[in-house]
């Protein structure tokens, strides 16, 4: 009665093909192009050129700086992160829960805006703190100089240490307290316990956090661009930018960029591999799933000093720079003293309503982030569905391609996108907003895949099969059962992409054209052009958007949790 159903190319194969196609075009080919361009000249393997490029004094210097910065930032972030994590989870520090939230705020602040603020505070001649100290104590020379390696390391540390903090405080809270208690019963003192029991058990989390910091710092553009280029200090991403920018995108510059990028990709790959290896090896059965109440160290006399220290740390790293941005943003001219006479709202209204460049930048950032977040969310859902749920041959290709974006720094993606979409393959998107859009999709695909896969893994196969058995077609089952159940994951993915994309700098700075500046690019170029006041004003608008965005996310994710 029902006849025969020919099963030739099924939906599964179609979806797989589509997902693979998207990942290949958006992620794989650009990366391959980078490696290809780095290795081959006129179709021939050319190692000599690579060695030559790397032994040029300034590329060599950039490599060295990248390493020094990443090393310094990782070291400092680890110390600060572990210390504060221990303080809020293992001592009787007052207002611990509030402090814990406060320590996460640096995550929200774009580090290049932080760098901008610190430049205003600590640049040798015009920095406000320097000027204040010189006036107060009658000094001849400015006591601080934020430009240079030390300044870069300090500022990056301020905004990257939460990686370590989150990892370690989470692990400390979930650690089985009986492990420490039994050491105590055996007669060990607190110091011995910390040294011999707690620290070794925390080591995997510490290392995992530290490696994340290293990964970010190695490929970080914003802070070195603001605090380094002015005094001739470059790391790999800023060197790539400088070469391409100065030669107006000549092939030689791009080739140097691809060689340096390849080094970034390889180091990032190594770091991620080391991390997964350590996390796997470190999975002792000591960390219980449910949270328990560990014995808290009584700080006694140190209680108040340590609280003051923590608050001071937050005040200096978060509040001071933020306030500075807002204050400078409302100055009539940069360098004036902060008093009501010199303050104005004209900068803000000018930027928001009159100046085409900044208006464009805000608008560009908005629609690019919105579009990229939306598309990446949907594509990520599709790809995750194929990876997590479908039984098709050849899925491992997808799994591999899905992991790839995790190890790609923003600079590398920008370069790959330039190689892919600047006419070589028939499509020229250079200088259009599309090229930034494509780059964002590639850059944030990893976020979407992570969030969507996690959500999909929660949806047991039988839920979908039950719908099929009830007479629903594959699409109906997806629409009625799977999508509603993973909606929180999809919403999370959307915001995980939308917010970082809104303040993105590293990728778009290599891709922007005359009319396609983003907020990040606009702030950066304003600062470069010496328009410090406008840069600060735009940065303060960006900060407001970010804070509002975070609050919206919180509200949405919470109502989602309650809804299901």
């Amino acid at each position: 009665m029902l006849g025969r159903y020919i099963k030739s190319v099924g939906i599964a194969e179609l979806l797989l093909a589509l997902s693979v196609l998207i990942l290949v075009v958006v992620v794989a080919v650009p990366v391959l192009l980078i490696v290809w361009t780095a290795l081959f000249v006129d179709g021939q393997l050319n190692i000599k050129d690579i060695v030559m490029v790397l032994s040029e004094p300034d590329t060599y210097e950039a490599l060295k700086n990248s390493l020094v910065i990443a090393g310094g930032v990782t070291f400092l972030s680890t110390i600060i992160g572990v210390f504060f994590a221990w303080l809020v989870s293992r001592t009787d520090l007052p207002f611990k829960n509030t402090m814990k939230l406060l320590f996460l705020i640096p995550f929200m602040l774009p580090s290049f805006i932080g760098a901008l603020a610190w430049k205003m505070l600590l640049s040798p001649r015009s920095g406000y703190v320097n000027k204040f100290l010189m006036n107060t104590f009658g000094l001849e020379d400015s006591p601080f100089d934020i430009y240079g390696l030390i300044g870069i390391i300090a500022v990056e540390t301020m905004y990257l240490f939460p990686f370590v903090f989150i990892q370690v405080s989470g692990a400390l809270e979930r650690m089985d307290p009986t492990l420490e208690e039994s050491a105590r019963i055996s007669g060990a003192g607190l110091l011995t316990i910390t040294r011999k029991i707690t620290l070794p058990l925390m080591l995997p989390s510490i290392v995992a956090g530290a490696l994340l910091v290293a990964l970010y710092s190695l490929a970080h553009f914003g802070v070195p661009a603001i605090l380094g280029t002015e005094v001739g200090i470059y790391n790999i991403p800023t060197k790539i930018y400088e070469r391409i920018y100065q030669s107006a995108g000549s092939f030689d510059a791009i080739r140097t960029g691809t060689i340096l990028s390849s080094i970034l990709v390889i180091s990032a790959g190594l770091i991620l591999y080391a991390q997964s290896f350590i996390l796997k090896a470190g999975r002792f059965q000591v960390i219980a799933g449910k949270s328990m109440r560990p014995t808290l160290l009584k700080l006694r006399g140190l209680k108040m000093p340590l609280l003051v220290l923590s608050i001071l740390y937050i005040a200096i790293t978060v509040i001071l720079p933020t306030v500075t941005i807002f204050m400078v943003g409302s100055l009539k001219t940069y360098g004036l003293e902060f008093n009501l006479e010199n303050m104005t709202l004209d900068n803000l209204t000018y930027i928001l309503f009159d100046w085409k460049m900044t208006k464009d930048a805000i608008w560009n950032s908005f629609y690019l982030s919105l579009a990229a977040a939306f598309v990446t969310m949907l594509v990520g859902t599709l790809i995750s569905y194929v990876i997590v749920k479908m039984k098709v041959r050849g899925k491992f290709i997808l799994e591999f391609l899905g992991v790839l974006p995790f190890s790609l720094p923003g600079t590398v993606i920008a370069l790959g996108v330039i190689l892919m979409w600047s006419g070589k393959f028939g499509i020229n998107l250079y200088n259009t907003a599309w090229i930034i859009f494509v780059a964002y999709v590639a850059r944030y695909m990893a976020f979407s895949l992570k969030s969507n896969s996690a959500a999909l893994e929660q949806v047991h196969d039988s839920l979908e099969e039950a719908a099929r058995a009830c007479g629903a077609t594959h699409w109906q089952a997806l629409k009625d059962i799977v999508i509603p159940l993973i909606k929180p994951g999809m919403v999370a993915a959307f915001f995980l992409i939308f917010l970082p994309a809104l303040r993105e700098l590293t990728t778009s700075v290599l891709l922007y054209g005359p009319t396609t500046r983003t907020i990040g690019v606009a702030i950066y170029t304003l600062n470069e052009d010496g328009e410090t006041v406008y840069a600060a004003a735009l940065a303060s608008i960006a900060l407001v958007i970010i804070v509002v965005g975070q609050l919206v996310i919180k509200r949405i994710t919470r109502s989602n949790v309650e809804g299901v």
């Binding site: 029902l2 047991h460 009830c470 299901v564």
Partner: protein, 369 residues
């Protein structure tokens, strides 16, 4: 409603064969159970019939419709097979209320709203969930969720129902209740039921026919429950259907001994087993409750090693030579006849029923269940 026929169906995962050339027919309106240890492939059979998996070869026919045949490129997707499925983990949709869960199959069939409403409420009433229809699954107990799944599977009047260990997550009381309700449902609706379980008690209680499967996916015996229990095809089936004793026998000077002892076995060995007995390859099998203890000297003698009180019965372990025999005595009967014994007693065993197996087969089946 519909019969189900499998013809030479094979399925393997990663080149590891799970089902090999399986042919079986499940009759219209029958309650048929696949009984086997976990990992024997019984769930795979069910998933093949449902259409969640495709066989590598063979044919599956539901009613008059060929639903699956890889050689002819025929594959009917699950939604077109008119089946109801109840999963081991219920698979009740957490974002839909009881009512929304149950009405879903009717929505998919585009049944008119009033009719759908009536049938949904009837189905909910059938599983005794009236007044709970507006609840979300997390507000229900495991047993109630189970019944939602059952109502959902039944509501569209499927030709066959596929049930995958639906009772295994319930507590003992609820399990018994659901067992009964399911049997009632089948009587009332006449639906063909395919049931998959590792629990021989459930299988015996609800099935018209049972297929006993071994770990390798082979069907050892198919038959009605009493036949499976009373006339097991081999030692595997015998062992799988409940606690069992295997007693190896020897034949010396015209007498039957329990191997490795001087105890004479009185139970008559049937004629067709005498060859095996003479070769020393005969093994007697019996259930603990088919043995009676006595002080009678003429019965098989053993030493009482352990007695465990279990409420309605007493469980004894008795050593005869090197063989340990488990015996279960009804406590009321034993008290009435004054047959309560203590550890260390020398005791006689009277066998009420006995099955006969070949030793090689029993040894090969060792450790299967």
């Amino acid at each position: 409603m519909a019969s189900v026929r499998l013809e030479k169906v094979s399925k393997s995962y990663d080149k590891h064969p799970v089902i090999k050339d399986l042919s079986i027919t499940i009759n219209d309106g029958e309650c048929f159970t696949f009984l086997g240890p976990s990992g024997c492939g019984k769930t795979v059979i069910l998933r093949l019939i449902a259409g969640f998996e495709q066989p590598d070869s063979g044919k599956i026919i539901i009613g008059d419709t060929l639903v699956c045949c890889p050689d002819e490129h025929v594959f009917l997707p699950p939604e077109k097979r008119s089946i109801g499925v109840v999963f081991q983990d219920y698979a009740v949709w957490p974002h839909k209320t009881v009512y929304e869960n149950v009405v879903y199959p009717l929505k998919m069939q585009k049944v008119q709203k009033e009719e759908a409403d009536g049938r949904t409420m009837k189905s909910i009433a059938m599983v005794n969930l009236q007044t709970l229809e507006k609840r979300l699954p997390f507000q229900l107990s495991g047993g109630q969720q189970q019944r939602v799944a059952l109502a959902r599977a039944l509501v569209s009047g499927p030709a066959i129902m596929l049930l995958d260990e639906p009772l295994s997550n319930l507590d003992a009381n609820l399990r018994e209740e659901m067992r009964f309700e399911m049997k009632e449902l089948q009587k009332n609706t006449g639906v063909t039921i395919l049931y998959v379980t590792h629990d021989q008690e459930v299988a015996l209680a609800i099935s018209d026919r049972v297929a006993v499967m071994d770990k390798n996916g082979n069907i050892r015996q198919i038959g009605p429950p009493d036949e499976i229990y009373e006339k097991p095809a081999d030692s595997f089936v015998f062992k799988f259907m409940g606690v069992s004793n295997f007693i190896p026998l020897d034949y010396r000077d015209g007498k039957v001994y329990v191997r490795g002892s001087d105890s004479v076995m009185e139970y008559p060995v049937p004629k067709d087993q005498t060859d095996a007995l003479r070769e020393g390859s005969l093994v007697a099998g019996c259930r603990p409750q088919d043995i009676q203890l006595s002080t009678n000297e003429t019965h098989l003698r053993g030493l009482l090693k352990r007695a465990v009180y279990l409420g309605s019965t007493i469980d004894y372990r008795i050593a005869v030579g090197e063989t340990e025999i488990r015996v279960q005595q009804d406590i009321q009967e034993a008290l009435a006849e004054n047959r309560i014994y203590a550890e260390g007693d020398k005791i006689g065993l009277r066998f009420l029923d006995m099955k006969w197996f070949a030793r090689q087969e029993v040894d090969a089946g060792e450790g299967v269940s």
